[in-house]
Symmetry: C2
Amino acid sequence: LEAGDDGAVYALVEPLHPADIADLLEQVEADERSALTRAISDLMGSEVFAELNDHVREALVDELSAEDIAEIAEEMETDDAVALLEDLEPEEQQAVLAEMEPEERAAIESALAYPEETAGRLMSRDFIAVNEQLTVGELIHYLRDNKDLATEFWEVFIVDAHYRPVGTCQLSWILRTDRHIALSDVMKRDQTLIPVTMDQEEVALRFQKYALISAAVVDESGRLVGQITVDDVVHIIQEEASEDILRLSGAGDGDINEPILMTVRTRLSWLVVNLGTAILASSVVSLFQDAIARFALLAVLMPIVSGMGGNAGTQTLAVVVRAIATNQLTSSNTIRMVLRELRIAMANGLSLGLLIGTSTALLFHNPHLGAVIGAAMIINNLVAGLAGILVPITLDRANVDPAVSSAVFVTTATDVMGFFSFLGLAVATGLV
Amino acid sequence: LEAGDDGAVYALVEPLHPADIADLLEQVEADERSALTRAISDLMGSEVFAELNDHVREALVDELSAEDIAEIAEEMETDDAVALLEDLEPEEQQAVLAEMEPEERAAIESALAYPEETAGRLMSRDFIAVNEQLTVGELIHYLRDNKDLATEFWEVFIVDAHYRPVGTCQLSWILRTDRHIALSDVMKRDQTLIPVTMDQEEVALRFQKYALISAAVVDESGRLVGQITVDDVVHIIQEEASEDILRLSGAGDGDINEPILMTVRTRLSWLVVNLGTAILASSVVSLFQDAIARFALLAVLMPIVSGMGGNAGTQTLAVVVRAIATNQLTSSNTIRMVLRELRIAMANGLSLGLLIGTSTALLFHNPHLGAVIGAAMIINNLVAGLAGILVPITLDRANVDPAVSSAVFVTTATDVMGFFSFLGLAVATGLV
């Protein structure tokens, strides 16, 4: 297919939705990608670029001139154009902006002035805002007569003389109301306003909680400056939730289109940190070398205690990290959550301790060894539960993303305490 | 606050959004919850119930009569009422349905007839569908004159004589078009139709991919039967993404409002499965008891090899599980992804092997031991990379959710191979 017939490729790709073309470009090998883009260059519109994965888009954009990029950006909505430009090198970004129409350029520059990952970057400047004195009929006339207004909007914002939002009208309400009725009688006064500096994760939580389709963005003085629509938020919800699983495992942003060297660097640095904790844990074992040399069965059984603690700690950690991310864990229920996890850890520890303790005692005809491993299992489950909840809460209070760094601390705790409790109890109780 | 003054509590809660009241009910202790609901019973409308967490809602619903539940369900949109009723015991569900108006009852019963987690359960039956012969003006008249039509809609579906969708009009297009123009000239013919039996996860991916606000749901014969709106999908996206992290760690659905015994049961059963794999791994160690008794340093170092393999395997696993869940890993790029992970594993393995091998050789003045642990580290990283990608892909092909069961297999592989490669190489090369 790829080798030759550009016409046939074009015919195959032509009926696809831009999002599907973007998917296709992400799926093919890097070298086929250039050939493919040449074959379908007519179809490579702004909508395809808007849908592309960051790394793939960057690779394609690298091959384009500043003029071409500017042309694509001009066709995009402000928020997509910002996403395209924010990843460029500063000098290239300037070159592209210089090629753009002054109006679009100003919109993008003002968006780029807001910090990354805030509402200011996400919002679109194309929205409909009218005065509350208008009637439904006047609004419809206004919308019909002004051809350069936004076409993608789901609600009409009602503003006062200072351009501050006072209410909002869903389009369905407007369509279902008689022409002569004033907008102030149709609109809902209660609305969720998004401050322009709000973090995008917080924006996503608001959209979810209040089931919003779009929302007004206001600046520090309360003036309406943009709108955010749910389709942009959906990506964030997805990304933020995925991020936690990937960060917990130290896999960076887990993007399968990322250049392989970047991936290796991210993962390797995490593994080296973990190597440090593994060495720390093994230094605990080294304290007990004599005991192990005398009774090698200890070395056989010790990974069970540390491993099970690690598993239990990871469970608690996953639950707590998600609860923090979704605002379910607040200062008012922290103590209750800690007690809850401790009770779970105690129940799990007792069950597992009894199970492994009895089995060991019977299998090796050594009740003393059984008691030691059973007790160590209970201790390590409690350590796992405590670390699993206290580490992420503490990091979160210290404004560190708990998903990124919790796992190292929790595994260190369960490894060290797993080895120490088991080997230590064995020595202290005179087993060896 | 709770102890006494119901009036004051009511005054505090009264101005809150239903979603905030639901949050409040989730945050308080179970026994305070009953007191709180009594104090604010007037405010406990259907909207609060729609927002509540499943477990909290179940607890509250248990205290209500079938009649009260029916009353709440009747005020809800079909999809929320279905979510409320689907969790009830069969006989209680029947009792509630018997109390409802025939029309709403029929709508809910037909939704309950579709399998759980499909589009049929999610969709609402309140939507606007009109014939394509209508003009914009006629449509607006129709919407104004029929007072019992839906009020929450974001697009108007255009259907043919057999009620099959032929196009769709965003409300903003209608508002911006002259009265005399036919809908067939305004509508977009290309639209994403959702089959009524489609899995909700797939529905969510469609909404994300095509940035949909709402979509038409069609039955097997292609007739329009309902609509799904993005606010219902947002919850699914969030849940599905969270689910993976929680399932990978064996924490069930990780709901902090779940009764504690259920949580213990879920987590414990996962831990017992892991206990099995831990015992399997330790049985590998037991093969080398003599070697360990002679040279206890092996027991000190062996957890490093197995632990690092586990970390590397988890990284790959997290990336692959997310790629599968978001449809990024398809049959066309599987081989490329496997090769990618193998190259990453080789790079990580070589780096870590060199690092730990050299350090061990220098620290213990034992180059042979350094070579053994370095080689074992490389082998176990490759095992981790291979298992991390092949296990979830194989499970996915076999229609098993890779997030649920992959971790056990991957950790077993890295534990067993970690111990075996290190201890085995030590013995085979005559180190002990």
